[in-house]
Amino acid sequence: MDARSEFEAWLVAREPSLQRLAHLLAGDPHDARDLVQKTLAKLYLAWGRLEDRHDVDAYARRILVNEHRSSWRRTARRREIVTADVPERPVDDHHDDGLRDAVWSFVATLPPRQRAVIVLRYYEQLTEPETAEVLGISVGTVKSQAHRAIASLRAHLPQETR
């Protein structure tokens, strides 16, 4: 199989997971789509020098997170509004009485780096050192960011769920 065919096979199999991660990091489907497209383009250009195809998923994740870090820095001044207030609790749906949506809405209000820590730790199931490495921050920062997010979430959960 030539390199192009290998890339295409990887794309078909793995793009959905990349899309999901991008959506959770960006919080917006359009931004997520941009992130994925940039990531795939960079991965495509780097494909020929990736000797170990088993590492491609991790490599792609790193590019995605790196792109996301760049994008939040570019847009931080004009778009990010950090607030301590959790948005209105969404309407209940058939999944879980709205609790998961409330938690997701909370996650969406987190500052970008804190959100990235949460997504990598609790969705990608990375360890603290792995999360620190991917984000280029210290393990201590990962711990403190996660701790703050959890504490904030706990404080904003409906009373009966605490």
């Binding site: 192009r4 890339f7 295409e8 794309l11 078909v12 793009e15 959905p16 899309q19 999901r20 991660l21 959506h23 959770l24 489907p29 994925v36 497209q37 940039k38 795939l40 383009a41 960079k42 495509y44 250009l45 780097a46 020098r49 490599y59 790193r62 590019i63 997170v65 790196n66 870090r69 760049s70 820095r73 570019r74 999944h95 879980d96 609790l99 998961r100 949506d101 938690v103 997701w104 996650v107 949460i118 997504v119 609790y122 969705y123 490495e133 280029g136 921050i137 959890i150 979430l153 706990r154 959960l157 769920t161 605490r162």
Partner: protein, 391 residues
């Protein structure tokens, strides 16, 4: 009581599964990759096209103006006094032959093929690249981190100058040149601090971006990004595509070289105590080593040079892993020479500026670390050699 961590896991999983996505066609990925490449190469491509028009159309126009039956075939076209590109050649350097890349010695730039470009003033050379038919030369007038940067035209005349830091660098293909400029603090004048990217022949547009850094210097070009060292103040290593705001490469405090071919950045942290090689796309630290400075990637990016902080021992290492392949040594000599500068001539040889027995020597180093002369020995007290900088 709910476990907040489990709630987060469930909520994120739920959100991920409930969102639908359109698959990206391979053609779209390839188109995006093409655009990425094109953003950087636009300037160079325009130049190449313009040069091709000059080389092809002008002789054809001359032929067309005459009777085709009486006109002999046009003589081969030669390019008038344009310096040889300073990018590394693809053909292996002959052992013991003259250098296959340009190098500066004093106020002269020696080009492959023997031509010598004479600089009008002997201000020293700390770096240079072929630019707009002449050269862009960083001189040796160091003052608190800054140097003078002068553009010389094909005739050797100084036609523009800036205050800069570090040295100008060309892209790996030689088509694009980048450098920084700023107003020196002691001048009392104000001017923006800029990173410049321009066609190496000057026929395309010059693009600049203002930097919020003090006396930054260019390290090289990786993909669409220019990698910059921050200088005083914030310092650090930054990457910019000149469109978005520069982003900091947080795993490096300083940078020494880049490999466009492999997408790598070499640098250091902890006040140069630890040398690192970093993947430019992801920021991942591929390897690090205490007590060495990593620099000088080979043109194909497979190799780099590691220099010990203590003693200055040089090693050729595998760029992506740090595996030591050879120690640079002086074959047949009693003592090791001091290597002042080392750069790659091609994928299998380095050129070294050697200080040995009080003389400046130009040596060629093979992948086994053996040094052979690349030029007759220089004079005692010579100024040494400086090589063109490419990414």
């Amino acid at each position: 009581m709910s476990d907040p961590e489990q709630l987060l896991r469930d909520a994120l999983q739920d959100r991920a599964e409930r969102t639908s996505y359109d698959a990206t066609p391979l053609a779209d990925v390839e188109s995006g990759a093409y655009r990425l490449r094109r953003r950087r190469r636009t300037v160079g491509a325009a130049l190449t096209a313009a040069a091709a028009v000059v080389v092809v159309v002008v002789p054809l126009a001359v032929v067309a103006a005459q009777d085709p039956e009486t006109v002999p075939a046009p003589a081969p076209t030669t390019t008038p006094s344009v310096p040889t590109p300073t990018t590394t050649p693809t053909t292996p350097a002959p052992s013991g032959g003259p250098p296959q890349i340009a190098y500066a010695e004093g106020d002269r730039i020696h080009e492959p093929g023997g031509r010598v470009f004479q600089l009008p003033r002997d201000l020293g050379v700390s770096g240079f690249v072929a630019y707009r038919g002449g050269y862009l030369v960083a001189d040796a007038r160091y003052f608190e981190g800054s140097v003078g940067l002068t553009r010389y035209d094909a005739g050797g005349r100084a036609v523009a100058s800036w205050t800069s830091a570090g040295r100008p660098v060309s892209s790996a293909d030689g088509l694009v040149t980048t450098w920084t400029s700023f107003a020196p603090p002691e001048s009392g004048t104000t001017a923006p601090t800029l990173v410049h990217v321009a066609s190496s022949t000057g026929d395309g547009p010059e693009v600049t971006q203002e930097l919020d850094l003090i006396q930054p210097s260019v390290v090289g070009m990786v993909g669409v990004d220019v990698v910059i060292e921050g200088g005083f103040g914030a310092g650090g290593v930054w990457a910019t595509d000149l469109v978005s705001a520069p982003r900091r490469i947080e795993v490096l405090d300083r940078a020494t070289d880049v490999s466009d071919a492999q997408g790598l950045i070499a640098g250091s942290v902890d006040q140069d105590a630890i040398g690192r090689v970093v993947d430019a796309a992801t920021g991942e630290v591929l390897w690090e080593r205490q007590g060495v400075t990593v620099s000088a990637f080979s043109p194909d990016g497979r190799y780099a040079v590691a220099t010990a902080s203590q003693g200055g021992r040089r090693e050729i290492v595998e760029a992506r892993t740090g595996e030591v392949l050879a120690e640079v040594k002086a074959s047949g000599e009693e003592h090791f020479p001091t290597l002042l500068e080392l750069t790659w001539e091609d994928d299998g040889h380095l050129l070294g500026d050697l200080a040995f027995n009080c003389c400046a020597h130009l040596g060629r180093v093979d992948l086994d670390g053996n040094i052979t002369p690349a030029r007759p020995r220089g004079e005692i007290g010579g100024t040494g050699f400086v090589f063109a900088a490419t990414s």
